[in-house]
Symmetry: C2
Subunit: 767 residues, 2 copies
């Protein structure tokens, strides 16, 4: 855990240059706009520790994974998010001496991520080896208004010398993935051109043949006066630059404004991509840096207006929740249904930028409650479009008759993860995808989605479960063997309570959904039956038989659900008994030791209780929480939020607060010693949920919003906003009261602490 | 299963060219001498399906395996057996037209592996596209007398033309491993030189920096008269050749004798390797091809004299057992204690040529009974020398105080396998290594080995087991979680009966061995105690406590040992219920399906019963055999032999015979559809054991040899020879009697069918 960032309500601030934490800062200060993103690398050359990363949504490389012992059904490739053209680069030389912070004495360094307005700022004074001192101020952003545009303003002031400063803005597509095997490069140069103040480079990915065209234009000012100058054009296969020298005297400020258009062949035909890039760029340049920055600020203000959470009296918690919301909206805006939410967003390469169950289990509730309804729907449609591939995936593994197994990791619907204990066994993901349909309809009331898309997915998933269980003669019940639950610190276990529970829920919900569609959309029902070859009586009856005879492990004596068969046969220890130098255990213990221990990576039984809490009385929840929480390591970023929500529900507010901080400041404080790899984007949605469902106690049952707010003693007040079926509500909680403001034009019914309340349009309810 | 090879008592014969089976034939007809080996590739160019392979013992490449999700304790590399310099090549052109069997009409093709004399023969008539017909006869061998020498005699007769034949003998080090990733080559050229009739190429492996120097000399004869000729010298970085043209008239025969020395830097300093190779070659050339072939034949005759098994009335079984013995001695001679027995020997790349538990569990009994005592001892010393690395390996996984975990796969004592379920969990290998010490001492009576090397290994292994179990409060017993048994179709299971049984045996044997050494070698005992920091009372007492309270799963109702916890919870099916088109299942089923099924890859409980059969009454053995055998797929080559032995013991002679054929003719008939990858060398020792321990019923208890011979009805008689403590016995069994011939100069006591018998020196006993 590191705590070098300054607490501030609206900004992330690094004061003083923390070179040894630079890769962490590069993750935390990343900027993005849902279409592209860039780690907070420096514009100028830096020879110190850095992890260069620039990412464009949807571009991936199918890397080879054929190493070791192949298993039938393994995918042909592992999708890698592509580190793509570095478009931020501006090399700076002073009388021939390269500006390189690693070699300078650096003073007054401040790096700021301005979350309110959506830009990254950096300023410092650097004393070069030669003794010359320069003052630098750099600001850049990825426009969320013009989402193919990135813009940089970089100024350099001579503080104690006169001489020549050369500036070399460049575009470099000759970059490498950190996670490449055998140092292979994934980009091929297609075209490069350089003119006096503009240049363009097109690179294409191997195999997938995605093209990325980056085109830049820049202006240079001296003391705010635009200069006319000649430049030297530098052109290599995957690199273009324009270099120019300027004479400055002591006190002069040179300023460069570099605007870049990044166009991907996902959105532009390759034969037009170059022309289009100039056009997009021209439009941006017409606006200019200042106007675009103003638009950026306005757009972010609009986003904050609908999604902001305030926390009074705890600036650390305030900063953290805004950071989480900000990063989520930098990563995914929901505009493009082909895109999804990689666990690292645009902040790193890990997890290949691909789609995981995180989307359904963690991100969907956030987007449903803070964005337009179509955003949540797009996340669902993304999976609907992959249904055929999920059916093919299941068929590869020997499942029949249109059973679907959604991939654990995917870019385009194909599985691209190759560890058998995950690929073949961590099948609860199928449950999360079904549950998301239910959750979406529950929240939005959009029942028609079932008929339109949902039911087909549900049928295919239920078919999978029905084939995945088997009848144990010994037990006289159905069992499910060979699974990996959400707790990935157990592999290939039998009768994982969470997986079996969500599987049975799927069967039940599918049966209900079949009835609903049959009754309400009979024609559509017939069409789906024909398309899916659904045999109503045999299949439905078989599902019912399984539902009635499924084995779910529990320990009656302890009054808990058992994570899996044999869990209590393990040596029972508490996390507090582990030597702190061995935590996180995944960095210190061998895998067999982890597997054999009773320690839990992340919520598993508790994840199930969270999803289906209405089924359990509070005592049951408490017994399970008290049993499992002390055994849980929270080494998945997805764990503390679930614990925070359940702790809040159980009235363990102090514990809920502790878990909240852990999830909210996970990256800011580098809890798990891995922020340098990138931020944990998907778990950030869990942070939001910790407040809204945890402290705010928000639920939706029977088409009605419920609230049961509590407040940690560390906070004076907090507020959050949610969209719900056309209304926008603002809930403000302090130690004395709860105020709910109905910002919409119609009355709304809610339940507050279990009591029915009506809030009139544009009115407030104070309780 | 394919049956295209001709049955013959002493030869493996392919009549007619089976191009589509060529890669299988290349495996089966491989030649080797314990130091090097070569697949049965053609000397001349061949554009058809071929898997080129030439291997030198002890040379490996540490290939990168860093792909996917790394686990702590995974090795840095996977050792790959190196496909090395192709030294057999002789390109042939007839009037400029390349001789290439893929383009010719081939007649009278015969490929013969002469096992009696130890050479490979090939002859055919080929009609080229031009209509020219040539007759070829090629013979080659790897000398077991001069084990750095390979020799080829290749003759070509013009049958219907006069013209020019050009011959180009070459050495090609520019070869690639089939299992390379990313097409990387592992060899770097160091030196190449070519003279008129000799040439040399030195190549060095990347990283490991092994050098291989291959030096050739050749002579050419026309119609048996040696020719004087000029040659064109061809020299590339990793390739040398000498090419010469010869005019022939119809009926002329050209003959080339090519002798090659292959010297490895394991045995020669690199600064001398070139000179030494010329010297070694010179010696061989002085002998000449014919004399060397005679020596080869004499040396094989000596081997056969001591190790031959005869089977009368069943030429298929006769051929098979000789093939197995022949391949074993081609692979490992026991001369060099640095070497071991790769599962594919010199016949392919699979399994990396590394050492597995196969050596101890399968090969040791064969070498103990057919070779000099030091051969078995060398196999044990090999592991003793790796003890420190095994301790380091265990430490990496978190085991303490000198506990040792021997690697699953190794070249030099380091683990180089990276699948957690094997690397960390298939720990029964530790048991096999301990059992080998017991087995060696039991067989040879060499009790001193314990004091010398054995006890140190046993202490370290027992320490591992004592830490690997844990006390289950729930059961009130010790349990062992998270293991993979010999049946690799189950992973990460709890309380595998085999693993727990052999672990407990280890503890018990170590305690006995401590007492033995303490009583008989007190000084050595003190030295070992100090070296290993063995705390006599605490450790020994802890082991006893575990021994007294260990949980071993069984089903009392069925009267069987349970392969693992929960085995009976699986859907119980028989192998006969599987659709034959889905067998072998590893080629058709996904891994999770295999894991969830009750089907067994290879003997597991039965492997334990085989090792410890004296503990169990015949009814117990029968119940377990009858339960597990119908569930066993035998998809490991190591399975049928164990079943054959147990079936023979249970009087199920027909079944024993069926299993015998399956193990004996596994490669000859390509049972598992994978012979093209190479032969299953280590399981060949199991074939030998099927006869000697299975049908012959040989055991050693209390320093006495026991025999309980039975004979399959398909055979008229069979005989085998064994060495036992200085004596050589020949046991001949037919349907009427058993005759044991004592070839040694001293009397020997045996038990025949449970009855004590004395066989006088040089005398026979007939029963």
């Amino acid at each position: 855990m590191k705590e070098y960032l300054k607490h501030d309500a609206w900004n992330i601030i690094e004061e003083g240059f923390h070179a040894s934490n630079n890769e962490i800062s590069e993750s935390v200060f990343s900027i993005g706009n849902g279409r592209m993103g860039h780690r907070a690398n420096f514009e100028e050359y830096y020879s110190g520790s850095t992890f260069q990363g620039s990412y464009i949504a949807g571009l991936y490389y199918p890397d080879k994974t054929r190493v070791g012992w192949w298993k039938n059904g393994y995918p042909e490739y592992f999708a890698k998010v592509l580190n793509s053209t570095n478009w931020i680069g501006i090399d700076v030389k002073i009388d021939g001496e390269t500006l390189d912070l690693a070699l300078c004495e650096v003073n007054d360094f401040v790096r700021t991520l301005n979350m309110k307005e959506g830009y990254l700022d950096r300023s410092f004074e650097a004393t070069l080896v030669s003794g010359k001192i320069v003052k630098i101020h750099a600001r850049r952003f990825c426009s969320i208004v013009d989402d193919e545009i990135g813009a940089i303003r970089y100024s350099i002031t001579a503080l104690n010398f006169s001489g020549t400063i050369s500036l070399t803005p460049y575009l470099d597509a000759d970059i490498i993935n950190k996670d490449t095997n055998y140092d292979e490069k994934f980009w091929i140069g297609i075209h490069s051109e350089a003119k006096r103040t503009k240049a363009s480079v097109i690179a294409e990915t191997k195999k997938t043949k995605f093209q990325l065209c980056s085109t830049m234009k820049f202006k240079i000012f001296k003391n705010e006066e635009e200069l006319d100058f000649e430049s030297q054009k530098i052109k290599k296969e995957k690199y273009v630059a324009c270099s120019a020298d300027f004479h400055v005297v002591d006190g002069d400020t040179l300023k460069i404004e570099k605007i870049v258009a990044n166009l991907s062949s996902l959105n532009h035909p390759t034969e037009e991509i170059l022309d289009n890039s100039y056009e997009v760029l021209k439009k941006a340049c017409t606006k200019g840096f200042d106007q675009m920055l103003q638009e950026q600020s306005d757009a972010w203000a609009a986003k904050w207006k609908e999604s902001d959470i305030t926390i009074e009296g705890d600036v650390s918690a305030q900063q953290a929740i805004r950071f989480n919301i900000f990063q989520l909206y930098q990563t995914y805006t929901g505009e493009d249904e082909r895109l999804n939410i990689g666990p690292k967003g645009f902040t790193g390469e890990k997890y290949g930028g691909s789609t995981y169950w995180d989307t359904e289990a963690y991100c969907l509730p956030f987007y449903m409650a803070t964005a337009n309804e179509k955003v949540g729907r797009n996340l669902l449609v993304y999976r609907y479009k992959h249904l055929q591939k999920a059916i093919e995936n299941a068929a590869k593994l020997g499942f029949k008759d249109g059973a679907a197994l959604y991939p654990m990791v995917t870019m385009n619907g194909e599985e691209c993860h190759n560890e058998w204990e995950i690929t073949f066994e961590e099948i609860h993901r199928n449950g999360a995808i079904a549950f998301a349909i239910y959750d979406y309809i529950r929240y939005t009331g959009d029942q028609d989605y079932l008929a339109e898309h949902g039911l087909e997915v549900l049928i295919a998933i239920s078919r999978f479960w029905a084939q995945r269980v088997h009848f144990s003669e010994q037990r006289g019940m159905y069992v499910m063997h060979g699974v990996t639950g959400p707790n990935e610190y157990e592999n290939n276990i039998n009768n994982n309570w969470y997986t079996s529970t969500i599987a049975m829920w799927c069967l039940k919900y599918t049966i209900e959904s079949l009835e609903f569609v049959q009754n309400n959309h009979p024609e559509r029902f017939t069409a789906i039956s024909e398309k899916t070859k659904f045999y109503e009586y045999t299949e439905r009856n078989e599902w019912k038989k399984i539902l009635d005879n499924m084995y779910l492990p529990e320990d009656k004596e302890l009054g808990i659900f058992l994570q899996q068969d044999g869990y209590l046969d393990k040596e029972q220890k508490m996390v507090t008994e582990i030597d702190p130098s061995e935590v996180p255990v995944w960095q210190h213990w061998s895998w067999d030791r982890i597997l054999r221990s009773c320690f839990i990576k992340q919520a598993d039984v508790l994840q199930g209780i969270y999803l289906f809490e209405e089924r359990f009385d509070e005592d049951t929840i408490r017994r399970n929480f008290d049993f499992y929480e002390p055994r849980t390591l929270h080494e998945s970023s997805l764990s503390p939020c679930i614990h925070s929500i359940l702790a809040a529900k159980l009235g363990k507010i102090d514990q809920a607060y502790k878990f909240y901080l852990r999830t909210a400041r996970l990256d800011l404080d580098d809890y798990n010693n891995d922020t340098e790899d990138g931020c944990h984007i998907t778990s950030m949605a869990g942070t939001w949920t910790s407040i809204v469902k945890g402290f705010g106690g928000m639920r939706v049952y029977d088409d009605i919003l419920h609230f049961n707010p509590v407040i940690p003693k560390e906070w004076e007040a907090y507020s959050f906003k949610i969209r719900f079926r056309g209304a926008i509500l603002k809930i403000k909680v302090d130690h004395a009261k709860v105020v709910v403001l109905n910002e919409s034009n119609h009355d709304i019914q809610i339940k507050m602490h279990g009591k029915d309340q009506t809030i009139l349009a544009k009115a407030e309810l104070a309780v």
